[in-house]
Symmetry: C2
Subunit: 152 residues, 2 copies
């Protein structure tokens, strides 16, 4: 196996990703497809809004975090199948030109009750911008493959 | 004002969106950009995975729900600024060709403590496919504009 398995993980383990640069065009493109609100689509409307300038959709920010997670140092054999996300927060807006980095911490590990070949990992993901401000944080549970264990 | 304001909302109010059709190409395109895992990118790998076939990224599904929310019947004057999401779940995978509809229910309404011109609305969003299976559900809090109230 090339990727990580459940057995490779430890509670308290932390990893950091590379930086992801977001452009104004990417913010506008995501918003046009998925979050059609003026403060994500139009600079003048964004300036007049509570954001005080163009800001990425919160779902775009979450998608960027997933990009960094799936291309980062904690890559799993057969991937990580998301089960649940809680405590999703966006304390600071993402702006054009921001360079973000994802920090992942393992909070909990347990065997899957229903799938003996999988374990459930609970992580905290924190996405920070170049000023070290948190732009996104959440707790996620996902199923990852075990090396041992029979059946599916 | 053309859109809804905080004063127009009632606890218990429910609205339904139109249907959103997702294609295999859209699933692959989102995954290539944001969720680079084999079961979202490649049909053979997806067949061999726990999904048993190509499935949309959970973050793509969430983005589709936001598209339906921001283009649907509950459109707010000056938009809805997301504060928090909890209890995000993906009980059933989204497949190529699925046609999904969003149901939104208002759970709670309160004035914003920090921004007198805004109210905070707490909603439950449930996204269902054409078989009426829930593919996504979550609870969200967002700030929306009040008609009355001074300052920002």
């Amino acid at each position: 196996m090339n990727g990580l398995a459940f057995e490779d993980l430890k509670v308290g383990q932390r990893v950091k990703s590379e930086r992801y640069h977001v452009t104004e065009e990417a913010i506008l493109e995501f918003a046009r497809q998925y979050d059609v609100q003026a403060f994500h689509l139009d600079r003048a409307a964004a300036d007049a809004s509570l954001f005080g300038g163009l800001a990425a959709s919160g779902w775009h920010t979450a998608a960027i975090a997933m990009h960094l997670f799936t291309t980062g140092p904690m890559r799993f054999e057969d991937g990580a199948i998301g089960l649940a996300v809680d405590e999703l927060r966006w304390p600071t807006a993402v702006r054009p030109g921001d360079a973000m980095r994802l920090e992942t911490e393992i909070l909990e590990l347990r065997p899957s009750r229903s799938k003996p070949r999988f374990g459930v990992v609970r992580i905290r993901n924190i996405l920070r911008n170049q000023k070290n401000e948190t732009v996104l944080s959440y707790i996620a549970s996902a199923m990852v493959r075990r090396r041992s264990g029979a059946g599916n």
